[in-house]
């Protein structure tokens, strides 16, 4: 059995696969690096798979918190792992867009699913999950409901500040001058999509474009991204655990090479 752990800035994921690459256990916890999240995710994945730790032949950790997690056999970056996971799930994928809690990446894959090139957002939170979290808080809705709120938008609103801090005050003043919450929610999705599309244009988006990461669960962002990029975007099943699946696949591959 092989374990992949993905420790992000705002969530921890774990996946267990067998030698036939079948997923036996998976778990997501909404607390990330520096918390009990990773342990909890690993524990829950073990329970779902119905196995104990000794059964694991090899483990790989990925994500922002990978450097400080010392229980895995190897660490690999989230860029490599997301690419691997996405290519495994959708072999025709040539571009992977991964929007996580605090960063966004666009990864180009070659025909064998290997990373060919990648870009990552700069340090700020623009175009990431954090931006949406801040917007959801101002709109007084849960992050999970932001997408359905935006479905009822009637008018286009532009959030012109890319900086999350400035965008926050921009949105507050829009709301106080009567803008509808639904419209603002849609504006927030568009703002993220614009940033990520800009990032993607630096390396080009080749079809099929696949989206991974927690933000892929937000249909509003996916639709806005399709509009901005003019490309069809496929959301992979269980987008949050793709990094962990990639890590588990590397664990399997490394163990096979060693034996």
């Amino acid at each position: 059995m092989f374990l992949g752990i993905d420790i992000g800035s705002s969530s921890s994921k774990a996946v267990i696969i067998n030698a036939q690459l079948k997923i036996l256990g998976k778990a997501v916890f909404n607390t990330g690096a520096g918390t009990q999240g990773p342990e909890k995710a690993v524990g829950a994945a073990f329970r779902e798979a119905g196995i104990s730790g000794e059964k694991i032949k090899f483990s790989v950790v990925t994500g922002y918190g990978r450097m400080t997690y010392d229980k895995a056999d190897k660490q690999i970056t989230e860029i490599t792992c997301h690419a691997r996971g996405a290519a495994h799930m959708i072999p025709s994928a040539r571009t992977v867009i991964d929007i996580g809690g605090q960063d966004a990446k666009v990864i180009r894959l070659d025909k064998d699913g290997k990373v060919e090139n990648f870009v990552m957002n700069e340090k700020c939170a623009a175009g990431t999950g954090r931006f949406l979290e801040v917007m959801a808080r101002i709109l007084d809705c849960s992050i999970g409901n932001l997408s359905s709120l935006s479905e009822n938008a009637s008018e286009e609103i532009i959030i012109s500040n890319t900086c999350t801090v400035f965008a926050e005050s921009e949105v507050i003043s829009q709301l106080s001058s009567g803008a509808k919450r639904e419209n603002v929610a849609q504006g927030a999705h568009k703002a993220v999509a614009k940033r990520v599309a800009g990032l993607g244009s630096r390396i080009g988006l080749a079809p099929d474009v696949v989206m991974t990461g927690g933000v892929a669960l937000n249909k509003g962002v996916v639709a806005a991204l399709e509009k901005e990029t003019g490309q069809k975007i496929t959301v992979v099943e269980n987008p949050q655990i793709i990094g962990a699946i990639g890590a588990a696949l590397y664990a399997w591959e490394t163990a096979s090479k060693l034996s």
Partner: protein, 376 residues
């Protein structure tokens, strides 16, 4: 510690503690020191005057005072240089030479008299059309003006012989450095990315004659060693400079070896020789005219991309790492042109935006590691 370790650790110590090293060099040689802002200051003239040229390429100082003169969208090297000047850290220098290559440097030339009145400024303007006769003649005139200023500081006349001797010494230094950078791939563990950088950097704070002796000694000692097997990734690095420690550590951790560089702080300083004919100042001016592939020197033919491609091919490198100094206009304007050429040539490239003081290197570390994983 063996002989190699001793030489390397002394050079690393020099590079890591510039002020201390410069003061020691001044004491050792009995010379006054002149600060040289980037890029291509006429160090040969300074040396010929019996003065010690010292490189001023920023540092790790926190920025507080410099905000008065340079906005936060100016490059970190220059914000730190102005900060260090304002804090009095350059007070032991007899003067600074600031060449006005970009808007930021021009702005510093304007502000220096007020911001750092205690440190004498010799401004310089390099010709845009450096290859035509008028450009060369203009540059020679600039050199003559600077020469006069330096003569006043040194209290002595600089003869043609002084200049020729100084040029010979600098040519020897440049040739030595070209040899040094060429052997890195044979000793990729001893001369890892960080050590290589610090060794090259030490030159800015030492008398070039003594520095060249040290590098030759180091190369002699290295030759006695068996070659080290290179089991990592070979890259050509380009940009203004490749710092901080965290950045260089990430390269070392991921076994990325700098088999060649095109950094303004490193090889761009020594890859072009002076011509053998002409007066001393003509020879210096033609070195600027002949130097290509640098974003700071206007190049109609845009040869930078081909230069990088050649460096990759000659050194069998796996890719190019771009260390883009944040807010550096000349380098940013140059980038899209060579990026396209590298893409057409099928050369993998890693783009890193860097600042001299980075609070968190986490993202950069992830990018470097991902690049290494991609190449493997």
């Amino acid at each position: 510690m063996n002989r190699i370790e001793k030489i390397i650790s002394a050079l690393e110590e020099t590079a890591n503690h510039p002020a201390k090293a410069v003061k020691a060099s001044m004491k050792e040689t009995g010379k006054k020191a002149v600060g040289c802002f980037p890029y291509y200051t006429p160090d040969e003239i300074i040396y010929a005057a019996g003065l010690l040229p010292v490189g001023l390429w920023g540092g790790q100082t926190d920025i507080k005072l410099a905000d008065k003169y340079l906005q936060s969208f100016c490059c970190s090297i220059m914000r730190i240089n102005v900060e260090q000047g304002m804090k009095g850290m350059y007070d032991f220098l007899s003067a600074v030479i600031i060449p006005a290559y970009c808007d930021t440097l021009k702005c510093i030339c304007d502000n220096w008299h007020v911001a750092v009145p205690q440190t004498y400024l010799i401004p310089m303007v390099y010709p845009q059309h450096r290859k035509i006769a008028a450009g060369v003649a203009y540059l020679i005139d600039e050199y003559k003006r600077v020469q006069k200023e330096l003569e006043t500081i040194a209290g002595k006349k600089i003869t043609e012989k002084d200049l020729e001797d100084s040029i010979a010494l600098y040519e020897d230094y440049r040739e030595t450095m070209r040899h040094f950078t060429a052997i890195v791939s044979r000793y990729s563990k001893t001369l890892n990315a960080k050590t290589r950088h610090l060794i090259i950097k030490a030159a800015y704070f030492m008398d070039k004659r003594l520095y060249a002796i040290k590098i030759k000694e180091l190369m002699e000692e290295l030759k006695r060693l068996p070659e080290e097997k290179l089991d990592g990734i070979k890259v050509v690095v380009t940009g203004i400079l490749a710092e901080t420690d965290a950045l260089l550590d990430a390269f070392v951790q991921n076994k990325i070896v700098f088999v060649a560089d095109d950094l303004a702080h490193e090889s761009r300083q020594f890859r072009t020789s002076v011509r053998s004919e002409g007066t001393a100042l003509e020879r210096l001016a033609y070195r600027i005219a002949d130097h290509d592939g640098c974003s700071l020197l206007y190049d109609e033919e845009k040869k930078h991309g081909q230069l990088l491609i050649d460096l990759v091919r000659e050194n069998h490198a796996d890719g190019v790492v771009v260390c883009m100094m944040k807010f550096c206009n000349p380098e940013e304007f140059d980038y899209p042109i060579y990026k396209k050429e590298l893409e057409v040539a099928g050369i993998p490239m890693l783009y890193l935006e860097i600042e001299q003081k980075m609070d968190s290197a986490e993202q950069i570390r992830t990018r470097i590691q991902s690049f290494a994983e991609m190449i493997k």
